[in-house]
């Protein structure tokens, strides 16, 4: 049974079951609105997979994932605003929010985003490249642990402040009022369902990539760096390179999640990417189990669901619950929900693997 769960058949079964739930059961059982909500939550789950990799496996507490999420989201939003303006008023027209801000000409850095291909390339490359650059800057200098956490948090704060100050990026209000997604009407329920499928598909792909990274030699090396970075260095590896890969992968996942978040939710603003949203990404991962593959997904979905369901009835109680979850889960159950499952496995004398958190 346990061998089945970790073996090849288990992988297949797991993915098949997930696909069945995401592509079959959910669209059948949920109303259009609920499905849209689930699509939004799936975006958080995609971010969570990346955090699981960087934090759970690599020991890098990335308190600034909002930056990469925001980059992906804003890049996509820029394209959608350009496309809207072009469709309504012809090529070269200024997006509506810029008119309101008194901007009469499209800023140069907006122009290439009229192209869908450029936009997609930018979403895949820019945030990742930024993460690589930043990663080298800090990891090569052996900035790590709490230093790294604080720096990444400050980065999220600085990024949000920077965006708020840019009227040509929508400022505090952010970018909203999108009508089309690569030519498809966003107010059509069928297209909204399509967005959900895209989000679900991306989640599965991201999980597959993360699984491969975990099972590869690189995955073992990453755990080694987490547990004893100096030891790895004295074995002849450049630990910074190893960390940068996981950090960049987490950034890429977050950017893709942000990019699909925009058409699903219809708005991106600095409020989604600052210090607090960034640390809230962590909560779901901690609850689900940072070290496991699927734990962060479950945790992120559970937190988003709880927030959506509880905050309206008990706004004050929800804040307490958030705080207490941080305290209780991390202090008492650092492995999250996933560690409960792992504990029962261990009870059946399974070989110990690398599931334990840092």
């Amino acid at each position: 049974m346990s061998k089945f769960l970790t073996g090849r058949a288990g992988t297949w079964t797991g993915f098949a079951a997930a696909a069945l739930v995401l592509f079959g059961a959910a669209p059948l059982l949920l109303s259009g609105f609920r499905l849209g909500l689930l699509a939004q939550f799936l975006c958080y789950a995609i971010v969570a997979v990346g955090i699981g990799l960087a934090w759970g496996r690599g020991g890098m507490l990335t308190l600034g994932q909002g930056v990469f999420f925001g980059m992906g989201a804003y890049l996509m939003a820029m394209h959608m605003k350009m496309a809207d303006a072009e469709f309504r008023n012809g090529p070269g027209s200024v997006p509506d929010f810029m008119e309101l801000a008194g901007i009469r000409e499209i800023p140069a850095y907006w122009v290439p985003f009229a192209s869908p291909a450029f936009t997609i390339a930018a979403i895949l490359i820019l945030p990742t490249a930024f993460a690589v650059l930043l990663g080298f800057a800090v990891f090569k200098r052996r900035v790590k642990g709490a230093y790294f956490a604080i720096l990444s948090q400050a980065l999220a704060g600085a990024f949000a402040i920077l965006l708020i100050g840019q009227q040509s990026m929508g400022g505090f209000n952010g970018l909203s009022r999108f009508r089309y997604f690569f030519g498809y009407n966003l107010d059509d329920p069928i297209n909204q369902q399509m967005l959900y499928f895209i989000a679900a598909g991306i989640l599965l792909v991201v999980l597959a990539v993360a699984l491969q990274l975990r099972r590869s030699r690189y995955g073992e090396l990453l755990v080694a760096v987490r547990d004893a970075e100096e030891r790895v260095r004295f074995l002849g590896y450049d630990a910074a390179n190893i960390k940068v890969v996981a950090y960049a992968a987490a950034a890429l996942f977050a950017a893709v999640a942000g990019a699909i978040f925009v058409p699903i939710v219809g708005i991106i603003s600095p409020a989604n990417i600052g210090i607090v949203p960034s640390i809230m990404f962590i909560l779901g991962v901690a609850i689900g189990g940072r070290g496991s593959l699927i734990g962060p997904v479950i945790g992120a979905l559970a937190v988003a669901l709880a927030q959506s369901a509880l905050s309206e009835q008990f706004p004050s109680a929800w804040t307490y619950a958030q705080g207490l979850l941080f305290i209780v889960v991390i202090a008492l159950l650092p492995g999250g929900i996933a560690s409960i499952a792992a504990a029962t496995k261990r009870f059946r004398r399974e070989p110990v693997t690398a599931e334990a958190p840092a």
């Binding site: 934090w55 020991g59 507490l61 930043l134 800057a137 800090v138 200098r141 052996r142 900035v143 642990g145 709490a146 230093y147 956490a149 604080i150 720096l151 948090q153 400050a154 980065l155 704060g157 600085a158 402040i161 920077l162 708020i164 100050g165 100096e230 210090i275 640390i279 962590i282 901690a286 004050s316 804040t319 307490y320 958030q322 705080g323 207490l324 979850l325 941080f326 305290i327 991390i330 202090a331 650092p334 840092a358």
Partner: protein
Amino acid sequence: MDLLVGQLFTGLSTGSILLLAALGLSLTYGQMGVINMAHGEFIMAGCYTAYVTQQVVGDAGVSLLIALPTGFLVGGAMGLILETLLIRHLYHRPLDTLLVTFGVGLVLQQVARDVFGAPAVNVTVPQFLRGGVDLLGTAVPKTRLFILALAIAAVAAVTLVLRFTPAGRRIRAVVGNRDLAETAGISSRAVDAGTFFIGSGLAGVAGVALTLIGATSPTTGQSYLVDAFLVVVAGGMGRIKGAVVAAIALGTFQAVFETYSTASLAKVGVFVVIVVFLQLRPQGLFTLRTRSLA
């Protein structure tokens, strides 16, 4: 010209505020490597201590003098409780401590909201601190001079305690080499608790002082926390000297940058400067060099 003098003083003043907020943090971080995200809420607790004291005492001047030591005790007591109940059990998990204390901060914020209400409350500035004094042709608010003096006093007090009291020597011994200190018969557990008491108490004092210039609301602490962390990171962990230099440098940088640009860009500028700076000195301005593996 007047503006320049004013801005230089502003830099000093902003630096002293940062320092007051960061001093306790630097102490606890250096001592235990613990990032206490609830530090901002301890500052907030200091603000509300000043508020409550003023409600009870009435006279703004007297209540300020009472609130300063009371704030120290309130902050210190909260720190002691936090250390005993949670942090003590998480010593080898610094990142987890960070997240746990973030949760504590969330809870404390909501407690403040439920007890005192969400809107800011008013702490009256005592008559003798109202208005400004003329300094080289610029009006300098007395409140800021008071905070500057308080920051200097706090640094002096901490330095004296660390240097010349037996408790301070124990703290320095544990910071220098925990294991060795323990073999010398120092209870590192007691020292940790003591350090946390002092560090959190300083947050309380900072809170009381900050009511003179800022708002007293449940989110007050948050506005100072990230900047305070940057001071600690740039200054080098556990080095009071580093915190002082970093706070004043960052304060001045921000004030000068802000004059020629916007406040928002100044914040971004500070971040960039710190990342670049860490390229040159990854461990901050001043570090304790030991042979142990970090």
